[in-house]
């Protein structure tokens, strides 16, 4: 898992990093508690600064605290914050505010078929790079005439070039051969047309990488029949939501895939499909894999590669054990059983010396 970003990690003080932790709602708090438990067990030199965001509150204080903390620490690990979509439009999704305030412009999701997880498709290995701050998520809506609502989708040259550059650079750094831009430029000729144009321009600077494009509806059709054809995919915000959820579903579901949000100065890690999992919260049945793997992505970002690899290996070994599978994978295992297994796996590899880490 070579890093997909060139942001230098924040400074260490006394050899330890401080990372902002936002528990979020639903299964977030319990799974992030397991992350802390695991990190303590492994003696990971990371301290968590916990910042809660009360999704029921309509005041901005919690959000401002969280954003300040992330600016200070540079890195965060978060659960999903619930959005009450029955509240008026002035109450914008907290997750969205975090992404735009910190300009976390690239949402990166790597969907890979995992050994031991039974899925309909094999050999899926797709990196999705989704523009994370504009497009349909601009939160610009108005009702000029009662009963007639306009919602603005904004596509800018600057952000399209930026995400395309990120995608091609990531492809190059990871030795990937092909980047596919996903769009609907046949209908949204100006908006998606601009996005596509920017991708083409950036592609010219990466001659060793094949660039092609595909219309979003055809893309979903292709994904459910032959997902192996895709390598790296880059797209605007909304299509990114669709494609990343389709791909996560293809490799085993929301409980398995971690996600990363990168900006120029900050990085925030979470699960790929950003679910609160309200209905399974506090029942010890949620799959902690996605969250644990997200914490590994975070460790890699902090250049703590030894810890990241050690924990990741243990997680992958655990996930290949069918008897430990949680309900989302068709099993009856509990969250704590999975976490315990990861810890046992790490322990069985023997004590770690500082040279090994």
């Amino acid at each position: 898992y070579p890093p997909l970003t060139t942001i230098p990690p924040p400074a260490k003080y006394g050899g330890r990093h401080t990372v902002t932790l936002i528990p979020g709602d639903g299964i977030g708090p319990e799974l992030l508690t397991h992350v802390r438990e695991l990190f303590r067990f492994c003696c990971v030199p990371v301290d968590f600064e916990i910042v809660s965001i009360d999704s029921k509150s309509t005041s901005d204080d919690d959000m401002n605290n969280a954003i300040t903390a992330i600016r200070r620490n540079g890195v965060a690990l978060k659960g999903n914050i619930e959005t009450n979509h029955n509240l008026p439009p002035s109450h914008i999704s907290r997750n969205n505010i975090l992404r735009t305030s910190l300009d976390l412009y690239a949402n990166v999701i790597h969907c890979q078929t995992l050994p031991g997880v039974r899925t309909r498709h094999r050999d899926v290995d797709i990196i999705i790079i989704r523009e994370n701050t504009e497009g349909e998520y601009s939160s610009l809506e108005h009702e000029n005439v009662p009963g007639v609502v306009e919602c603005l989708k904004i596509i800018t040259r600057k952000k399209s070039l930026r995400i395309a550059e990120y995608a091609f650079n990531a492809a190059r750094q990871n030795g990937r051969r092909r980047v596919t831009a996903v769009h609907k430029a046949n209908i949204m000729k100006l908006g998606d047309g601009l996005f596509l144009q920017c991708c083409k321009e950036v592609a010219a600077g990466y001659p060793e990488i094949t660039f092609d494009s595909m219309i979003v509806d055809n893309t979903t059709m292709q994904l459910v029949s032959k997902p192996q054809q895709f390598d790296v995919m880059v797209m605007p915000n909304l299509y990114g939501s669709v494609i990343s959820n389709v791909c996560a579903g293809l490799v085993g579901g929301p409980g398995l895939v971690p996600g990363a949000n990168y900006g120029k100065d900050y990085a925030v890690f979470e699960t790929a499909t950003r679910n609160t999992g309200k209905s399974i919260a506090n029942k010890n049945i949620a799959n902690p894999t996605a969250t644990l793997l997200a914490s590994c992505l975070m460790l890699d970002h902090l250049r703590l590669h030894g810890y990241a690899s050690m924990i990741r290996k243990a997680i992958l070994a655990t996930v290949s054990e069918t008897r430990l599978h949680t309900a989302d994978l068709g099993g009856q295992g509990t969250t704590s059983e999975v976490v315990q297994s990861v810890m046992r796996e790490i322990e069985s590899k023997g004590p770690r010396t500082s040279e090994q880490i």
Binding site: T83, H85, G147, V149, R157, M221, G249, R274
Partner: protein, 345 residues
Amino acid sequence: DFTKSWIIILQTVTLIPGDGIGPEISTAVMKIFEAAKAPIQWEERNVTAIKGPGGKWMIPTEAKDSMDKSKIGLKGPLKTPIAAGHPSMNLLLRKTFDLYANVRPCVSIEGYKTPYTDVDLVTIRENTEGEYSGIEHVIVDGVVQSIKLITEEASQRIAEYAFEYARNNQRASVTAVHKANIMRMSDGLFLRKCREVAENFKDIKFTEMYLDTVCLNMVQDPTQFDVLVMPNLYGDILSDLCAGLIGGLGVTPSGNIGANGVAIFESVHGTAPDIAGKDLANPTALLLSAVMMLRHMGLHGQAKKIETACFDTIRDKKVLTKDLGGNSKCSEFTGEICRRVQDME
């Protein structure tokens, strides 16, 4: 019933064969309908756009008149004009007849194996507004704004259609697909109208689900879905995703419901110019759309007969077109279905 055995009411259907493989798959459907003795008389029309008085593009008068009278259309694939100067024909048809609902039943075809089995859902897509309003502006150089339009009227209309469809087709639930967490005002309005309409259909279960959650769940377990109703873009994406689950556009039927009782059923695959005229095309999509049409017209017996013959042929695997994994000609595949239909008499 004494009267029924003596009076056969022939219903007129406007047939638009289309381009590429359109004519040959239309012929296939007509042959099968004849073999089934379906009470349909076909009125073939061409819909290539012409410039009307005032310079506005429109479909030919003969085509419009035929459809206005028959109210029912069956359409093959139309080629997309690049330099013809006129807008997309599909768009023109949609506007002419106010085809506001695009309906795609997606049912797994036994004998045509995909990684997904037991799919049985229907996507109902609002087809007039949303993200496809075509309203875009360059604000300043390098900044583009595309406008998604959601109106109370269109949202209500599609919601009503969805619930009525569910009731008329014995479907248990309707799920509104949205992203109101992000697009609070627009999708929020859509959602509100769906909730309001649901109040009048207490016999149908109503649920709401985020678009991304639907995508996530659809590829893991499509059997949990029944009828899905949604705005234009989500409908476009999801209807194609679901078509992919059952085997692609070559086997997926589609229907467009318009105001004033007009309904046009169509195959949604392309014109396949590379195999046009070579007797290689697969008429399944158009045939299943025609079956959907028969059901819409209340001719359920005929619909079942033809659909069964088609599915049996595919399941049997002896006579299949190339795209279905065989090496039979279109005419052979058609002939096989005709034979089965006649055997059912």
